[in-house]
Amino acid sequence: MFRRIFATALLAGFLGGIGISVVHEFTTTPIILHAEQFEGKSSVPEQKQSKSGNPLLILAHGKSSGAAEDGHEAWGPANAWERTLFTTIANIITGVGFALILVACFSLSSGNINGRTGVIWGMAGFGVMSLAPALGLPPEVPGALTAELVPRQGWWFLCVAATAAGLWMLVFRTGGIWIVAGIVLIALPHIVGAPQPARIGGAVPPELADHFAAASLATAAIFWSLLGWLSGTFWQRFEERS
């Protein structure tokens, strides 16, 4: 079982990561590069929480970003090729990570898994990992004004866990109580509310930020459909061989 899970996830994650890297190269990455031209031009002071009078206000990727406390710049990709390479590697690792979680769900499921049902599982992954968190924390371009990082990351995990649990109750349990509990769990993180910046009006034009939010969600939908299909297909194939 270990072998089947890891072989499926490695293959699907690798191919899915490569595939989405090509898509990102023509969709989200050009918007990120465009947005970076506006980064640091905001009229709002670029200060971290510890230095700022307002603890909720920081500028994403301000000038201090990437600079270590001793004043030295942290390592970063040197040129466009290196940047693309590291983005691709990061996408592959993310792809394998998500594929492992997806395929682990396959192994626990009693239903029939193939490429087609894999896409349905992939859509569930999209809903849990991308769509639900985007309602509270819309995909952000570099230069957007945001709340402090750690509370946002904490809310993201809360939202993913609650949505996954809620969706499981709605899909795999029967009875009115489960439906109510599932809906309440899915709504809970949004009732609590994601951390929001105290002020809005970053340096990046809203047209660009809007475009990025749409591009990020659209590419996430492509990624999860692809990952679901690849994972389901390999999962079925490795069963036939074993």
Binding site: F2, F6, T87, N91, I101, S107, L108, T146, W156
Partner: protein, 60 residues
């Protein structure tokens, strides 16, 4: 009675054979995603920067 116990043990054994690999895979998968998307190291952040934004992980 004895047969019943054996059957129960079989069910538990089958269930743990199924559940353990799934838990290990989920933990390892979460470890990879958190490493790429959430680690606070500046170097990891700079390397995975565009990937983090595109996947809409909360970033700086």
């Amino acid at each position: 009675m004895k047969e019943q116990t054996v059957k129960t043990q079989d069910v538990v054994a089958t269930s743990s054979r199924k559940v353990m690999p799934a838990i290990v895979a989920m933990l390892f998968g979460a470890f990879l995603v958190i490493g790429v998307g959430f680690a606070h190291s500046d170097t990891v952040h700079n390397a995975a920067h565009d990937s983090r934004h595109s996947f809409a992980f909360p970033c700086h």
